[in-house]
């Protein structure tokens, strides 16, 4: 089901963080949300997950997400927050099982469907090997995969990931993006907030570029990520490098001062 943004606006503490964001995101594709710090990327993702009050409309096809019950919304939209903190030193398997909470009926324990989904999510993220380890003993890369497995265990139609690559080294960044690609290939929609222009150009099908809370570009990655547009939104000079049929923008310097917003 398409995820439709219709004139979405978010106001935080009297400040317009997002205004008039409209786009139609299609499932089975990776849509990267890009933009300078403070452009409203995280707010947009939270609004999509109905975690933030917003103007306008966020809808799955024609059903506004804000009108869904919390349980239904949780089953359909998986949200991977930027904050990778796990507050208690739980076992990896217990953390992944949390992804099934919206599917479970009140007094009952895990069903066979739950166990199957948990196993599938752990297999897809390569976390089966440390199912019994405590989260406190994991490396940053392992933890990122466990938290992704937690969201995948819920088998959501849409996966919204807020900067999942932050604090990962290049190898683990590529690894995580490959896994997101597999999720999209399975038919789910993937929305991912990224900072790295090269990663976005290489992995994303579509790009939603935000600048000062407004859409500065939306469409196929190759069409949106042009040198001129990146200079305008990020205030950086980029050179385009051709690699495997994609044009990758590599930032090489700043242009003047970046306007804060």
């Amino acid at each position: 089901m398409a995820l439709i943004l219709d004139s979405v606006g978010v106001t935080l503490g009297g400040r317009h963080v997002l205004a008039d964001v409209s786009a139609r995101l299609e499932p089975g594709r990776i849509t990267a949300i890009l933009g300078p710090n403070g452009a409203g990327k995280s707010s947009l993702v939270k609004a999509m997950a109905a975690l933030l009050a917003h103007d306008g409309r966020v809808a799955l096809d024609d059903r506004p997400v804000a009108s869904l019950s919390p349980e239904t919304r949780a089953r359909r939209i998986g949200y991977l927050p930027q904050d990778a903190t796990v507050h208690w030193n739980m076992r990896v398997a217990e953390i992944v099982a949390l992804g099934r909470l919206p599917h479970r009926r009140a007094p009952f324990g895990e069903s066979d469907a739950d166990r199957t989904a948990i196993a599938a999510a752990m297999a897809a993220t390569g976390t089966m090997a440390f199912a019994d380890r405590l989260v406190g003993t994991l490396s940053g890369g392992e933890r990122a995969r466990v938290l992704l497995a937690r969201v995948l265990a819920g088998a959501p139609e849409w996966l919204l990931a807020d900067e999942p690559l932050a604090s990962l080294d290049p190898a683990h960044q590529i690894d995580l993006l490959d896994r997101l690609r597999a999720v999209a290939a399975s038919g789910a929609g993937v929305v991912v907030v990224l900072h790295d222009l090269v990663q976005a150009a290489r992995e994303a099908d579509d790009v939603l570029l935000l600048h000062q809370g407004r859409v500065a570009g939306f469409g196929l990655a190759g069409d949106v990520l042009t040198a001129a547009r990146l200079a305008e939104t990020f205030g950086v000079r980029v050179v385009m490098v051709e690699k495997a049929g994609r044009r990758l923008p590599v930032p090489i310097g700043r242009i003047g001062l970046v306007s804060e917003g």
Binding site: L80, E94, L101
Partner: protein
């Protein structure tokens, strides 16, 4: 050992301590006198049994609410004291003792009314906010306000007997509690415990932080209401019946995490059993101490609890507990 085996072992420990608590006291009641017409059996049936039942249930709700509050606030230093309910209940009781020379049911009613008031105030203060920081701040303010008002009440007490009475009650004890006390305290404690037990899954989800918990379908407002009402009923009634007994709610979840794991929802039942075991053991020990009087249970628990708390703080400096 599997999780259910560990639970069974803990339950067995509680049963043994319950039996032991019936056998402990200044008077020796030989086995031959049990379940007979011997007047000494009356000591067991009418004094020790209600006391043991109260220790069991109070310990259980202290352990349970400690585990729930630590899970809800994602802070291992939280205990029922942080929400201000026990301080408010104590204030209600002290006001009744000092100004109305109340005892028994009067004190109980005043304490539980005050706990209810604190509960309503806490719910109102945190109504609009989803943040647990607001919750902790509101609770802390309530606790200090109630503490100050309690001190004020004692300082303006019309006579020294009322002061002595109030101080004595504040220290918390299970001495001379009888069946009517149990009958008053048990229903609200049971209801409160039930509400707290319903929070398990939400507490698990909250381990991932509030946004992730909400994205998993958790209604934070409903969880907060369960926590406030559950703690208010269970701890309010507990404090009303026995006075303030601290540290049990703080210590028990810590003692049990290495055994039962850190998942907050999985800790609720063990913490209830562990709290019951700790309070039964403590109450038996204070009765066994030599001398005519008894060390107050609240005092004894604080004597064990305070050094533990310090150790916890020292350790928290090493491995951050955020």
């Amino acid at each position: 050992m599997s999780q259910s085996m560990r639970l069974a072992a803990l339950a067995l420990l509680v049963a043994l301590l319950f039996g032991g608590s019936l056998a402990c006291g200044k008077a020796v009641v030989p086995w031959s006198a049990w379940f007979s017409g011997d007047p000494r059996w009356w000591i067991v049936a009418e004094l020790r049994l209600p006391r043991a039942v109260l220790a069991l249930s109070l310990g259980a709700v202290l352990g349970l609410s400690g585990a729930v509050l630590q899970g809800y606030l994602r802070n291992p230093l939280a205990d029922p004291g942080v929400v201000g309910i026990s301080a408010a209940a104590a204030l209600g009781a002290v006001v009744a003792i000092v100004f109305a020379s109340a005892s028994g049911v009067g004190v109980f009613a005043a304490a539980i009314l005050a706990a209810g008031g604190a509960m309503a105030l806490l719910a109102a203060l945190t109504w609009r906010s989803d943040s647990t920081v607001t919750f902790v701040l509101a609770g802390t303010v309530l606790a200090s306000l109630a503490g100050a008002l309690t001190a004020f009440t004692i300082s303006v007490a019309p006579n020294p007997y009322a002061v002595a009475e109030a101080m004595d009650w504040l220290m918390g004890a299970l001495t001379d509690r009888s069946w009517p006390d149990v009958a008053l305290a048990l229903p609200p404690m049971a209801l409160g415990a039930l509400l707290l037990a319903l929070t398990g899954r939400s507490l698990d989800a909250l381990a991932l932080g509030e946004p992730a918990a909400r994205s998993l379908g958790v209604r934070l407002g409903a969880v907060r209401l369960l926590v406030v009402a559950g703690t208010g009923l269970a701890i309010g009634a507990g404090v009303a019946a026995t006075g303030v007994i601290g540290f049990v709610g703080l210590i028990v979840p810590h003692l049990l995490r290495p055994v039962f794991g850190h998942r907050p929802g999985a800790l609720l039942l063990p913490a209830s059993l562990g709290g019951a075991a700790l309070l039964l053991a403590g109450d038996s020990l204070v009765r066994l101490a030599p001398g005519a009087g008894e060390v107050r249970l609240g005092v004894a628990m604080a004597l064990i609890g305070a050094p533990f708390f310090l150790w916890l703080l020292l350790r928290a400096r090493h491995d951050a507990w955020h």
